[in-house]
Symmetry: C2
Subunit: 232 residues, 2 copies
């Protein structure tokens, strides 16, 4: 039986092994990134590791504080040595889809400020090429005229659905809505990302193309690691 949680933890542990004293580290969002944050907290406690963290969401910020990672709060300008973040899906070229747990904008800004951006995941997250299986891509949209935006997204060939809890639309950290765009498949990830991001009413989308520098996937007890070139 495959234990996804063990894989997540293994991938997180491998990524956290790259962190050195003095580094400024981007802290991702989601369950896999949460393992990395906890493991960083352990290294701080056990080894006296000295780092400074920058969180990608209110959730990761709260977790980081709870495990003793000092956080930078003045974020006018920052260059990170490393960012570690999870993913909903990634391919061997380092193209990835973020699940959009309410923090897409922050994740892109923080992960995009890192010299090295490590994407971590269990084996189920590796799908190559990225668009070869059905998936839902989250798109963060402004509340004003969101139904217009939904219709525009539909024209990109997906089934769009407003993310909500019961009848209440879910709000992102930035106070926006999220529309989950279900695709049976898609071809050109970069083109799709650009189309989504240039759609009127869209704040950001879950396609992160050309940002990852390293992909770390745990399969059972093994690590698969791919180095890719970021183009930002």
């Amino acid at each position: 039986m495959v234990d996804r949680e063990s894989e997540k933890k293994l991938a997180a542990r491998h990524a956290v092994g790259y962190v050195r004293d003095g580094m400024k580290v981007g802290l991702g969002s989601g369950t896999t990134a949460a393992y990395a944050i906890r493991l960083l907290g352990e290294r701080i406690e056990r080894e006296g590791l000295e780092i400074v963290g920058v969180a990608t969401s209110t959730a990761s910020s709260e977790l980081a504080i709870s495990v003793g990672i000092p956080l930078v709060s003045h974020l006018d300008e920052f260059e990170l040595d490393l960012a570690i973040d999870g993913t909903d899906r990634v391919d061997r070229a380092g193209r990835l889809i973020k699940g959009g747990g309410g923090a897409l904008l922050h994740e892109r800004i923080v992960d995009g400020a890192a010299a090295r951006f490590l994407v971590i995941g269990d084996a189920s997250k590796l799908v190559d090429p990225l668009g070869s299986q059905p998936i839902s891509i989250p798109v963060e949209v402004f509340v004003l005229g969101w139904k217009n935006t939904l219709r525009r997204l539909e024209r990109l060939g997906c089934k769009p659905k407003l993310r909500s809890v019961g009848k209440i639309p879910s709000l992102t950290d930035e106070g926006n809505y999220t529309i989950d765009c279900g695709f049976d498949s898609f071809d050109d990830s970069l083109k799709l990302a650009n189309l989504m991001r240039s759609t009127i009413g869209v704040a950001d989308c879950g396609l992160f193309i050309g940002m990852a520098t390293q992909v770390i996937i745990a399969r059972s007890t093994q690590i698969e690691e791919f180095t890719v070139g970021a183009c930002w």
Copy 2:
């Protein structure tokens, strides 16, 4: 002597002449659009014109209310018959630069929801092609990591400057910052718009390409009008 204010008013009057009973009308932001809003108020008072307005900014909303234009407040979904908005610069192909008085995002969403989007301006606003003279293009950016975003924008070949009053950065209606990007000239407006909008940390930019359907320029006492095809 050229009287820009008379030209603005003339262009606004011409555009307001297209408004008919029963229309849902997008109300632009800025000094020229303000003339259009006041003239719509006059038509409501004198002719009993029946329209509903959708404002592009808090400023245009307040002005519209003060002159008696009924506004729609539920904006989940809306299709406008017409939008009237001013511009910092426009060319004969209807490509335009919005000045970014704090409402770029709303302007794009509202103007983009109109079947017909009329751009109005005095003669100084017509520069053809759009990038043939020095200009500053406003870019709305998220506060988080704005200095990183400024550096990225600089790489597009401009001199970027944070908009501020004294030492206090100006906030947009959405709570973002504005970076004014000074260009000596630029060639491909659409490419530049896409590059700006896909830059990490950017919420929106002042380049509105493929959105206008009609350009109305007043030169002294004459109207120059161009019909263009929107591609959104």
